[in-house]
Amino acid sequence: MNGPHDLGGQMGFGAVAPEKDEPIFHAEWEKRALGITLSCGAFGAWNIDESRHARENIQPANYLAASYYEIWIRGIDMLLERHGFATRNELFSGHHQHQGAAPKRILTVDRVAEVLAKGGPCDRVVETDPRFAVGQRVRTRNFNPSTHTRLPRYARGKIGVIDAVQGGFVFADDNAHGRGENPQWVYTVVFDGVEIWGEGADPTLSISIDAWESYLEPV
C-alpha cells in the first residue's frame, strides 16, 4: 500500500538528528514495548509481514508523529484485536473482561535466549530456476496495490541491473495477508541515482533494493 511508511524521497522532515551517546532506550515504557512486541510475536498468530502491514495501516498523521515504539504498540493493539486475543475495550481499559483466543505458544522467561538466538529465518526452497541472471537489465513493475508490498514507490517502473541472486524467500506481499508463504527468488537490483531521481540527481549515487521476482520484468 502507498502508506505513510513508504518514505524514500519524501521531503520536509528536516535534518537527521544523530544523538551523541544515545541511550538504548529513552524511557522505561520503550523497554516494555519491545518486550511486549516480541512476546506477542512469539504467539505464532501472525507473521512479520502481517505485523509490518499493521503498522503501515496507522493513519498517516499519527504514523508520522509517532516514535517507532509507539508505532509498534499501535500495531500490536491492531493485531491483538484482529486475532481475538483482546477486545478494544480490554486493550484501552487494561482490564481483563473476556477469555479471548489462546495462542499456540507463550514466551516464558526460560525460552527467551533460545528464541532470540534462533530468530525467524525466511529463506525457502524455490522449485523453479531464477528467471533473471546477474548483470541482466530489468524493469520494476509499476503497481499501486492497496495491500502489503515491499517495492517502494520510488523504485517502481525503473530500470536497473541484477546485482545478485540472493536466494528463495517467503513472499511478503502474500504472507502478510494469510495467502501463504509462496516463496520466490529475491534479487538485489541496483539503479543509477539518475534513473530514480532524474534531473539534479547525485551522479555518484546508486541505490539498490531487494526485489522479489514478481516485482521484475525483463527489459
Binding site: A33, F85, H96, I106, G119, A155, H177, W212
Partner: protein, 211 residues
C-alpha cells in the same frame, strides 16, 4: 484480506489512547499478564539481552577480524551469515546477513525506507534516527547531505551506494581500515569501529582519537 481494512478506519478515532505512552504500555502489559499471554520476566530477559549482550560490539569484532584475516574477509563476502555465526553472533534480525565493503572507490550506506530493518545480531537495536522519517526519506536521495549531518565528507569522486533493506537481507557495512593501524591487535582495532561506521553514516575512528 478484506477483513483487515476496517482497522485503518477506526484508528484515528482512538488517538487519545496514545497521548501518554507510559500509561498505554502499562495498561497493555497489565492486561496481557492478567490474561496469561505474556511473562513479564520474559520481557525483562529480552530487554537485558539488548542492553547487555547484543550490540555494536558484536559487529565491531566482525569488522576487526575482517581487517586482519583475509580468509575471514573472503568468507564474509561469500557467506556473511555463516562467517558471522562462526563468531557466535546469530539470531533475530540477523538470519540472512550480507557484508558490504567500503573502498576508496565506493562508500556503502544502509537504510530501510519502508520500516526499520536493521541487523540486530551484530548492531543491537537501531538508534532513533535510523527509524525516523528524516533519515529514511533522505538517505536514498541525498546521502551526501545526510553524511554531512554526521560530520562525514567523502571525496567528490567516491561513489555512494545506498542499500535499501526491502526484503529480509540485513546489511553490515565493513568500513575501511584506518591508516597507521598495522601495529594494533584485533581487540584494539575493534575499538575503532563505531556503530555508525557499520551503517555507513560514519567512518572508523583513527587510532589517536580512540586513545
Amino acid at each position: 484480506m478484506s477483513g483487515h481494512h476496517h482497522h485503518h478506519d477506526d484508528e484515528h478515532h482512538h488517538d487519545n489512547h496514545y497521548s501518554d505512552m507510559q500509561a498505554r504500555v502499562r495498561a497493555l502489559e497489565t492486561l496481557l499478564t492478567e490474561k496469561g499471554l505474556i511473562d513479564p520476566k520474559a520481557i525483562d530477559a529480552i530487554v537485558d539481552t539488548y542492553e547487555t549482550k547484543v550490540g555494536p560490539r558484536n559487529g565491531a569484532k566482525v569488522v576487526a577480524k575482517a581487517w586482519t584475516d583475509q580468509e575471514f574477509a573472503q568468507w564474509l563476502e561469500t557467506d556473511a551469515t555463516a562467517a558471522i555465526a562462526s563468531l557466535g553472533f546469530t539470531g533475530r534480525q540477523g538470519e540472512h546477513m550480507r557484508a558490504v565493503f567500503n573502498t576508496e572507490d565506493i562508500h556503502n550506506m544502509v537504510v530501510c525506507t519502508l520500516c526499520s530493518c536493521y541487523p540486530w545480531s551484530v548492531l543491537g537495536l537501531p538508534p532513533v534516527w535510523y527509524k525516523a522519517p528524516a533519515y529514511r526519506s533522505r538517505a536514498v536521495m541525498d546521502p551526501r547531505g545526510v553524511l554531512a549531518e554526521f560530520g562525514v565528507t567523502l571525496p567528490e569522486q567516491t561513489k555512494v551506494r545506498v542499500w535499501d533493506s526491502t526484503a529480509e537481507l540485513r546489511y553490515l557495512v565493513i568500513p575501511m581500515r584506518p591508516v597507521n593501524t598495522q601495529d594494533l591487535n584485533e581487540a584494539q582495532l575493534a575499538d575503532l569501529v563505531t556503530r555508525d561506521s557499520m551503517i555507513g553514516t560514519g567512518l572508523a575512528r583513527l587510532p589517536q582519537v580512540a586513545a
